[in-house]
Symmetry: C2
Subunit: 243 residues, 2 copies
DNA sequence: TGTACATCAGTGAACGCGCGTTCACTGATGTAC
DNA sequence: TGTACATCAGTGAACGCGCGTTCACTGATGTAC
């Protein structure tokens, strides 16, 4: 996507001209309306015309702001990842005792849980089924890494402070070390294999729990989601060697 | 839904009349075509007309078999849950040494993984984002319990045989015991709280892993899904106290 | 500062398409006597 | 076994709707001199 000069101004923090101000505002309004659409009909039925109708403008006008329906979807996806990433980063950063890694983990997991419940449809967009016929472009990759990065970093901090990952019942297979190399390499210094494996498993538990809860698979099976979530997070803290 | 006599015959194993045979076959053909549709356009865009076109019949004819698009979706959902449930049950049953609970767990987890990869769109239908505007009716509840039941039962068997769940780093809170009561009560005798909590956490890990893998969140991060899945399953076996 | 020109936002009509569902109807199959 | 009637499967037209995207155009805003 080639950005026009006007578009770049619209996206900068201090738009100069009246046009740029209007563009920034309408871009925002389109995204907000589309986000609402998302909640009502889902990503597959997200409609440029419905957004235009909602804003009282001709449907063709939306194309001055987004080149296509897919571009609009991409923008929603990037915003959702960024929003979640920011929430998680802030929750971690809000723990003033940086050495209390268990508290940082709880804050991180809680932020994911809270964000997902506050924005169930945006969670479904990012972590639910892929949208058929839509392939997320490269732009979404970096924002998607923000949240997981926080977990890996706090685990690295724990290891640096001499806390560690509880034993895993055996050595990590060399093939597994190779398979998870990119994850290990996220932090500096890299995580040891045991930590990487446990981090990935815990990450799956966290998102698995949130998905099962939000998508209705705990209906009438778990009666108090908050209590159970706290229990699972504590258990993960224990498995991570933080508690 | 009230079933007509003819419909009940069509669903029984040995349809009598030529009509009933034809009905059973066409019902099957509709479901197969719809399943293919699902893979191509997703559940939200599943179209009665497209199914009819595929089968070379008038779109109105499909309504002789399913009262509405939602009814068709429900049938797909029930079939998917049953298919997964059967695969998991068979995988567990195929382990001849019933006391080798670790092997039963690996077979169970592997069956979920294999089924999901063989039928990614049916997995997305059941465990991905809910279909907007569609509320799954009661008919889907029982089939959905088949797979999790296998895990709970093998864990109960392990406990009966003196194997058990490793310690969780603390006692299970009474509120959590209450919250997870329905899960404990699935087996006879009921699972103790520690086992229930660990079972739920492991269940979230398993489905979290499969979702993250299938929905593209491990792209360029985990390089060998099979190796990593095996590692996570082994780790879960260890956490469950089976290995 | 004032003017001429370039850029941009927004319009409304149009293209070609697909959808779920209903309905009156025809012809084949099944059933009761 | 043969016949009359009831049931069912499938048709094709119709209703009323929505979609993404393009295009020529108008009028407002911005810019260079």
């Amino acid at each position: 996507m080639v950005l026009s000069l006007g578009m770049m101004r619209a996206m900068s923090d201090a738009p100069r001209t009246a046009r740029a101000v209007a563009r920034a505002e309408l871009t925002r309004a389109i995204l907000d309306s589309a986000t609402q659409q998302l909640a009502e009909v889902g990503p597959a039925a997200l409609s440029v015309r419905a957004v235009a109708r909602d804003l009282g403008m001709a449907s063709s006008a939306v194309y001055r702001y987004f080149a296509s329906r897919d571009d609009l979807l991409t923008a929603l996806l990037v915003e959702a990842y960024d929003d979640l990433g920011a929430a998680v980063e802030e929750a971690d950063a809000a723990v003033t005792d940086r050495d209390d890694v268990a508290a940082r983990w709880r804050a991180t997991a809680g932020a994911v849980h809270d964000w997902a419940r506050a924005h169930p449809h945006r969670y479904a967009l990012t972590y639910g089924s892929p949208v058929p016929g839509y392939a997320a472009p490269q732009d979404t990759v970096e924002p998607a890494t923000r949240a997981p990065r926080v977990l890996l970093q706090l685990l690295a901090d724990a290891l640096a402070a001499g806390r560690g990952v509880r034993d895993l019942g055996g050595r990590v297979d060399p093939a597994e070390v190779a398979a998870t190399g990119p994850i290990s390499a996220v932090t500096e210094p890299p995580l040891p294999p045991e930590a990487t494996v446990r981090a990935l498993a815990v990450w799956a538990t966290l998102f698995g729990h949130v998905s099962l809860e939000l998508f209705g698979h705990m209906n009438n099976a778990v009666l108090d989601y908050d209590t159970h979530f706290a229990t699972v997070v504590d258990l993960a803290a224990y498995d991570l060697g933080l508690a």
